[in-house]
Symmetry: C2
Amino acid sequence: MEILITNDDGIYAEGIYVLADALKKFGNITVVAPDTQCSAVGHAITITDPLRVVTAKRNGSFFGYAASGTPADCVKLGIKAIMKKRPDLVVSGINLGGNQAYNILYSGTVSGATEGALLGIPSLAVSLDTFVTPDFRPAAAFAVKLAGMMKNKKLPPGSLLNVNIPHLPDGRIKGVRVTTQSKTCFNDWFDKRTDPHGQTYYWMTGDYKPEDTDKRSDLNALRAGYISVTPIQFDLTDYAFLGELENWGL
Amino acid sequence: MEILITNDDGIYAEGIYVLADALKKFGNITVVAPDTQCSAVGHAITITDPLRVVTAKRNGSFFGYAASGTPADCVKLGIKAIMKKRPDLVVSGINLGGNQAYNILYSGTVSGATEGALLGIPSLAVSLDTFVTPDFRPAAAFAVKLAGMMKNKKLPPGSLLNVNIPHLPDGRIKGVRVTTQSKTCFNDWFDKRTDPHGQTYYWMTGDYKPEDTDKRSDLNALRAGYISVTPIQFDLTDYAFLGELENWGL
């Protein structure tokens, strides 16, 4: 099995190292990941600058390719310029921080897997729902389980699995739920400040405390201590509204 | 009517100037747009750097606010930090280049309107399907028509209208079609080069020549000389696959 691994926290993040180490038992691992932190880049790609690629070591050994681009760039580069064989699986992660609800749109982690799915390759995005003192092992163990299943199972063309792992000790995770994307949003605002030179600047900040009445959602699964697995796809057409829009008389 | 305008080509692009000028007859226009070219940033937001905002003049007069962020940042900033009243409409564009098919995912123009829709405001993305010698007037005229209709019509919560205008003289545009997002992809590859210092770099490049058998698609409407109006939404859940995934025994 040829596996391409990327992330958005950068090639030197802990999560991608744990992931690559766990998946190597399935075959050949190729890591192509951003050379810097790329959180919240969404599905950005780099078209006005050239991309640079250098090899990256970890623990003294060759680990992968560090690119001067986004996760979506890295997956394109991996498949079209670096790997000799087309991968059988693309895995993006393990991200520090959950990617549930509309946060999926801002997520570089999800966009790495999205690029794989758009290129016709079975793809997973794996995120751990914490920002502090992460233990990536339960998330890696589930990624291994899912990667093993992907050898025999098929995803619909263009779809991928978005996986979120609650940050609980291994035995405390209650199970796995197949979920929907929660329709709740991050509540963000701007913290306006003045720099030492008298100039105004803003920090985007916010919190995530929305109620979600959808019991099947990724958000509620995580809150209840379950791993969430949401199949996502990228035909954004609002089919339910097409008929009404046709009646607008455009 | 309070209207917030953004784009991804930057506040000094021609398209946003033509758009703002055309829409001012509806009420108060507030322009908040990136201070530089942001094409293909997707739904990126800026969380690890602070955001700067300066006023921008055009033709010697105040035009709007130039921010050091992405289109999604600009819409958040406009609504949450700059405008005194909540806007009734968010319009993003007029983009140089079409945003149809899966290109929607990479588009900063669409992501500006997406941010408006997620914040509960009726939103439009407007793109002109050319990169050379653009005439933005037919696109602006259609944006005016649509903005006028939006006063009396409702979009579903979380949905927006993605509008693409073929680059034809005004009288040659054949009409308007309510469309679906084409399921075709840009065919991209990497042009590998060596810089004057002997180092390798890559340019992402490609073409867009796919066949599309879906007669209702945005791509086919544009190719046939019609304006395409696609309602899009951001619940990415692949509902059709949920049942089968539940049978995987995760």
